[in-house]
């Protein structure tokens, strides 16, 4: 039997343990659920205690940029899902293009996030700044949570962009192919998870006022 490239292969059967690989990824995502969950818990408690300050804080957010970023992430989830469907059909070129589109949208998300943070920082609103510390306690908490939660989410997007870039490279070298696409599929799961986190962050920071 022709030896296939990739990990987790039993060379005797040529069988790739897709179920095992996928389950490993899901277990990792469960830890991520609790990772972000702790911060959502903090948000909900402080929001309850300082409803007015959170209201005032959310009014400062740029809804247009937040909405554009939401559209970008939702669309990037579509392109990565389609890239996996394409590789399963053996369409290497279209899968590569869709992965590239996902990477570009991830980068666009981060660039927009940069401008958003930059606008806030130029107003003097950043952790421990004199302007921020002069605000109400609830607003300090709101912006603290804003920076921590969108920052850690942004870090996840950055990691996703790097990982998808590797997947694009593997697709080009055909170590990800019609028969062996578990890595791309798991990358997709991660990317969708990051999308879901944003689906909750968006209303909590930009809309609920």
């Amino acid at each position: 039997m022709k030896k296939m490239q990739g990990e987790g292969l039993s060379t005797e059967t040529g069988h790739i343990d897709y179920a095992g690989k996928k389950m490993g990824m899901w277990f990792f995502l469960f830890t991520e659920v609790l990772f972000f969950g702790g911060m959502f818990l903090l948000y909900s408690i402080f929001r309850y205690k300082y409803a007015q300050d959170f209201h005032a804080g959310a009014a400062e957010e740029n809804i247009v940029l937040g909405t554009i970023n939401t559209v970008i992430l939702l669309t990037s989830s579509l392109t990565i899902a389609l890239s996996i469907a394409a590789i399963k059909k053996g369409k290497k070129i279209s899968s590569s293009c869709l992965q590239l589109a996902t990477i570009l949208m991830g980068v666009a998300f981060l660039v927009i996030k940069y401008f958003e943070w930059d606008a806030k920082i130029s107003l003097g609103i950043y952790p421990n700044s004199p302007v921020l510390l002069a605000l109400e306690k609830g607003q300090i908490l709101f912006f603290g949570l804003y920076y921590v939660m969108t920052g850690l989410h942004g870090l996840h997007v950055l990691v996703g962009v790097v990982v998808i870039s590797f997947m694009l490279h593997f697709t080009k070298r055909e170590t990800i192919n019609r028969e062996n696409y578990a890595r791309l599929e798991n990358t997709g799961l991660y990317w969708h998870f990051v999308d879901i986190v944003w689906i909750y962050l968006y209303p909590l920071f930009y809309l609920i006022t």
Partner: protein
């Protein structure tokens, strides 16, 4: 030849596109709820319900959960129940303090 696994199931492009369109419509809906004050004092709840519907669509179709076996669905249910209990019980504690 390799056996056919559930993982081999290919979701049609049309399905993905419809899900994506639904997500965009829900996005417009959540903005309408928040900005036009459609649900008045329930706008927070409304926004979270819409967010959960969006998350559900991503999970079911993009993350393929609809086509997975009971084991994975069960594991996810446990994880999400743990999170709900964590947030819910802490919140109730603060609320009734």
């Amino acid at each position: 030849m390799r056996e056919k696994y559930a993982e081999d199931h290919i979701v049609p492009t049309g399905t993905y596109t419809v899900v994506w369109l639904a997500l965009l419509i829900l996005l417009a809906g959540t903005i309408a709820v928040a900005k036009l004050h459609l649900l008045a004092q329930f706008s927070v709840l409304g926004s979270l319900v819409i967010a959960s519907v969006k998350a559900g669509l991503v999970l079911a179709f993009f993350m393929h959960l609809k086509y997975e076996g009971r084991f994975l669905k069960g594991m996810l249910t446990i994880a999400l129940s743990a999170l709900t209990m964590l947030i819910g019980m802490t919140f109730v504690d603060v609320w009734l303090r």
